[in-house]
């Protein structure tokens, strides 16, 4: 069976007054139905740009190259009209801030039904699916229908957008920072809800900077640094021992490990070097690191690492 989502050498740049800001460089990921992929990185590393590029929600001043294939068809070649048949129906987004993704001035029943119908469902079917998905998260559609979003707690808002994303049984669900600002018990609940998505057979892509959430979710993990994927592989293997120096330094910074910051600052995306971008901060750098940009070298255990320490010599 072919991968349901294949991202091939995807690059996104933004033209600005300071020159081109390279937000994402040659990202290649594969995601099959029922799989979970975590895209982890600090703010500005390109992870949200990746999610938005998959939905083609990228501003006009962006230059995009590479391919995004959904069951073999290149999304980047789709017309805007054809994209509308993909967004929400086949590729759904769980937005970062539920409160701002829902209209504050409309009752929830009407706006949820409208969103479901926009995915091509008949009204009765929309209600049926909304009722079922919300019930799985202990929410009652009838009870919610007359309420406004500000009358719900943060946890309820999160559950509403989680349920809505699954209406129409999308093949791929993208969750953008699904736990930012949530209390610990809501993080637990959200993690359980997210894990139910691949269990139902959809593919799940989670964008997060929360390493503890990543460790709990498992699946596979792609770590971004300075617009590039620097390592990729099973999440458990990453937490047991990252294959890239950036990953190792990042885990050392966790307060429950050493709480030791990585020296220096991340590079400017408008001024990326022609060699490994982590060199100035890397404790393990050696001669080739300043000469070229390393490839993603294979590492045992179905992992890949963008570090010359894994290059064949």
């Amino acid at each position: 069976m072919s991968a349901s989502l294949e991202v091939d050498a995807l690059s996104v740049g933004f033209r600005t007054r300071r020159g081109v800001v390279q937000a994402l460089t040659e990202a290649t990921v594969r995601l099959e139905r029922g799989e979970l992929l975590l895209v982890v990185g600090e703010s500005g590393s390109g992870k949200t740009v990746l999610a938005h590029a998959l939905l083609r929600l990228i501003p006009e001043n962006a230059t995009v190259s590479g391919e995004i294939r959904l069951d073999g068809e290149n999304l980047l070649a789709f017309s805007e009209r054809r994209l509308r048949s993909v967004r929400g129906r086949r590729l759904a987004l769980i937005p970062q801030t539920p409160a701002s993704a829902l209209s504050p001035v409309r009752r929830l029943g009407a706006q949820l039904e409208e969103a479901a119908q926009a995915r091509g469902l008949e009204r009765a079917e929309a209600r049926e699916q909304l009722t079922a998905r919300l019930a799985e998260l202990d929410l009652d559609f009838e009870e919610l229908s007359d309420r406004y979003v500000h009358q719900l707690s943060g946890g309820m808002q999160q559950r509403v957008v989680n349920a809505l994303a699954l209406v129409g049984e999308p093949e791929i669900v993208i969750a953008d920072e699904p736990t930012s600002g949530l209390d610990a018990d809501l993080v637990d609940a959200t993690a359980a809800q997210l894990l139910a998505i691949p269990a139902r057979g959809s593919a799940l892509l989670v964008i997060t900077h929360d390493l503890r959430l990543a460790e709990r979710l498992g699946g596979r993990l792609a770590l971004l640094y300075a617009s590039r994927i620097v390592e990729e592989g099973p999440t458990a293997a990453f937490f047991a021992g990252p294959s890239h120096p950036y990953g190792r330094e990042l885990l050392r910074a966790l307060p429950e490990r050493e709480g030791k910051p990585i020296a220096g600052l991340s590079p400017e995306l408008s001024d990326l070097p022609g060699h490994c971008a982590f060199v100035p901060r890397c404790p393990d750098r050696f001669a080739p690191c300043t000469e070229a940009i390393p490839a993603l070298y294979p590492v045992p255990g179905s992992r890949r690492s963008r570090c010359f320490e894994h290059a064949e010599r």
Binding site: G41, S43, P255, P261, L265
Partner: protein, 233 residues
């Protein structure tokens, strides 16, 4: 010692009464690292703002090194306000978007008349604080929208420390930031604590962080709970 005694604060959104703090007491020693944890809505941020003399409580008092706070917000004496500094959760909301970072760092000194506005004396001071919080010189000429959230939070930490406070209150200082920036900011604070007395109150929803970095942690209960009074363990 920075102490709050039996502080009560209610908000009245659309006619309802919401009790944010109900007779909460807290003591922060001059060299302590105290974690303040609790669910959203438990009153953590309200307590931080009361302790920083920015928000007037309905009842109760705040005492800073023996001096009882006589007024709140702009009515608090400047000298008392300088003793307790607050770093806000969202640096984008805390820094004037029109101000270059160099000016933003020294702004608290200018506002309190310790430094002439627009003078040349500010530049070396800004540069030395920038270095201290891990910012490079080339960033100082930029505006807030031209730097990352983490870089801007470093600016906010410098702004708080530049007036040499006795107490520092960090309200979700790092909740939006990656772990390395979090560790870097906490290292700056720990470095100041090695040089001189600085009592730190770390308000966070991250219990693991509070448990690892702080000497003690107290928990604020939900409003209306049986025993909402936080006392250091």
């Amino acid at each position: 010692m920075l102490s709050a005694e039996a502080v009560t604060k209610r908000y009245r959104p659309s006619g309802r009464h919401v009790v944010a703090l109900d007779r909460v007491s807290l003591e922060l020693a001059g060299d302590a690292r105290l974690g303040l944890v609790g669910r959203s809505g438990s009153g953590k941020s309200t307590l931080g703002q009361v302790l920083a003399t920015l928000l007037e409580p309905d009842h109760g008092s705040v005492t800073i090194d023996g001096d009882r706070v006589p007024g709140w917000g702009v009515r608090a004496p400047r000298e008392l306000r300088h003793r307790v500094q607050l770093v806000w959760q969202s640096p984008r909301m805390a820094v004037d978007p029109r101000m270059r970072l160099a000016a933003a760092i020294v702004e608290p000194l200018v506002a309190s008349g310790l430094l002439a506005k627009g003078g040349s004396a500010g530049a070396p001071i800004a540069a030395s604080w920038a270095e201290r919080v891990g910012l490079t010189d080339d960033l100082l000429e930029r505006h807030p929208h031209e730097v990352s959230e983490g870089q801007l939070q470093r600016v906010c930490l410098a702004r708080a420390l530049i007036v040499q406070p006795r107490y520092l209150i960090c309200d979700e200082l790092t909740s939006m930031l990656d772990v390395s920036t979090q560790a870097a900011l906490l290292e700056v604070i720990a470095g100041v604590q090695q040089e001189r007395d600085l009592g730190v109150l770390l308000i966070t929803h991250d219990r693991v962080l509070a448990g690892c970095w702080c000497h003690d942690t107290i928990e604020l209960g939900a409003p209306g709970a049986e025993a909402p009074v936080g006392v250091p363990s």
